[in-house]
């Protein structure tokens, strides 16, 4: 072994400046060799403080940041998904609402149209009926007029007939007014 050992050498250096190899049983067990403690403690302190510094200032905050970013991203993605779900639900509800409204409106329109048609038909029928009634009334009036006129004429015709009959039969000269009175009295019975 070319490198030097820490423990005191029990053997003198060999010829040619090379160290004579020491048998193991003559050595101090290396982990219990207190001459190396100071050096190990110092270098452990230096390296461990350096490691602590690198970990606490660079490595760990960076990894924590990465993990946090990922957590935030997942949370915001979930939020977005939830929001979109709500949106689609709202849209569906709006669609169903407007559908229902449209259906109600369509029913109302149909109802209105039916009512209108019914009313129009009724009005038309009423008008026709009124027209017919008018015409009927007019016709009845005329019939009545004709009838009364005919009845009025009956007395005159009867008295003329009676006058001619009487003249032909008895050749009397009865006054026209007497005959008319007689006819009227007969007709009044």
């Amino acid at each position: 072994m070319a490198t030097q050992s820490h423990e005191p050498t029990p053997f003198a250096p060999g010829e040619g400046g090379t160290l004579v190899e020491q048998p193991a049983e003559h050595k101090v067990f290396p982990p219990f060799d207190s001459t190396t403690f100071a050096s190990q403690l110092l270098w452990f302190a230096i390296t461990f403080v350096l490691l602590y510094y690198v970990m606490s200032k660079i490595a760990l905050p960076r990894i924590a940041g990465i993990l946090e970013d990922r957590r935030d991203r997942i949370a915001s993605d979930l939020d977005l998904a939830e929001r979109l779900k709500q949106d689609s639900k709202a849209a569906l509800a709006g669609y169903e609402k407007s559908l229902a409204e449209a259906r109600i409106r369509a029913n109302a329109i149909a109802e209105g149209a039916r009512d209108g048609a019914k009313q129009a038909a009724a009005a038309k029928r009423a008008a026709t009926e009124a027209n017919l009634a008018n015409k009927l009334a007019a016709a009845e009036k005329r019939i009545g007029e004709i009838k009364s006129k005919a009845l009025a004429d009956v007395g005159e015709i009867a008295s003329e007939t009676a006058e001619s009959v009487i003249r032909a039969l008895v050749d009397s000269d009865l006054g026209k007014t007497e005959i008319a009175d007689a006819v009227a009295s007969v007709m009044a019975k």
Binding site: S5, F37, S39, Q40, A45, I66
Partner: protein
């Protein structure tokens, strides 16, 4: 020499430094500490470089390590314990990388030296002690006086609690040190058998099959131990920190 199982723990000076008669040389141990720190930092910094929303394989590994340690700490010490997260994470990653680097042949295992593991466990215990005293003042000593214990038993229980507290840094450091040391020695011994037996001709080679199989199995076991001991050290640190935060049990 090649088969001496202790040789792998030997510390060699690479750059001699001496201050006031004390040897502070840059040794192979210091080199591997530096490699451990460089490896751990490179792993965590390079892998998270892309800051990907969808992680790469390396970034995923770094994130898993982060969340594993963070989860362990939060579970045992609560969310107040998260202020110690960089400390616990540094300990975990240091031990893990030191142990795993030690698995390479001819590499030095930093954690196989008791002074290093003792330094780590003392750092943990001193943090617990000082933070606990700073946070709870004298109430911190309630840690040693469990509530709901009969008065007759109280002195006895308190003594046991104090003893167990004192033994914590010892057990913490020796557990890691002994695991790494014993594992590496065993591996080296079995590997040494293979070399030794196979130099005895055909029969020797046949006889070497068993220790070779054992060495292979032990290598797998040592990888498990390397990761497991880092985890054990980290979770015990978390539990002890919990005592500093909540001493009233």
């Amino acid at each position: 020499m090649a088969t001496d199982p202790i040789n792998q723990f030997q510390i060699h000076t690479l750059i001699p430094i001496e201050v006031g008669g004390v040897d502070f040389s840059f040794t192979n141990s210091a080199l591997f500490m530096a490699l451990t720190v460089a490896g751990a930092s490179a792993f965590l910094i390079l892998s998270s470089r892309g800051r990907g929303l969808v992680p790469t394989r390396w970034q995923s590994a770094a994130e898993m390590t982060y969340e594993f340690v963070a989860g362990t700490l939060r579970e045992s010490a609560g969310s107040e314990g998260m202020k110690f997260f960089p400390f616990v994470f540094s300990l975990f990653i240091f031990i893990l990388f030191a142990n795993l680097l030690g698995m390479f042949p001819y590499f030095f295992t930093v954690t196989s030296h008791i002074i290093v593991t003792a330094a780590m466990s003392m750092a943990v215990i001193l943090t617990v002690l000082f933070y606990g005293l700073w946070l709870h003042k004298l109430h911190f000593f309630k840690l040693f006086v469990p509530s709901g214990v009969p008065v007759v038993l109280l002195p006895f229980i308190t003594m046991i609690e104090i003893l167990s507290f004192i033994s914590r840094p010892i057990s913490l450091s020796i557990r890691l040190f002994a695991n790494m040391l014993a594992g590496h020695i065993t591996l080296k011994v079995f590997a040494g058998f293979v070399v030794m037996l196979s130099s005895f001709g055909f029969v020797g080679i046949l006889g070497a099959i068993l220790p070779l199989a054992a060495a292979v199995a032990l290598t797998a076991l040592e990888f498990l131990v390397a990761a497991l001991q880092a985890y054990v050290f980290a979770i015990l640190t978390c539990l002890y920190l919990n005592d500093a935060l909540h001493p009233g049990h």
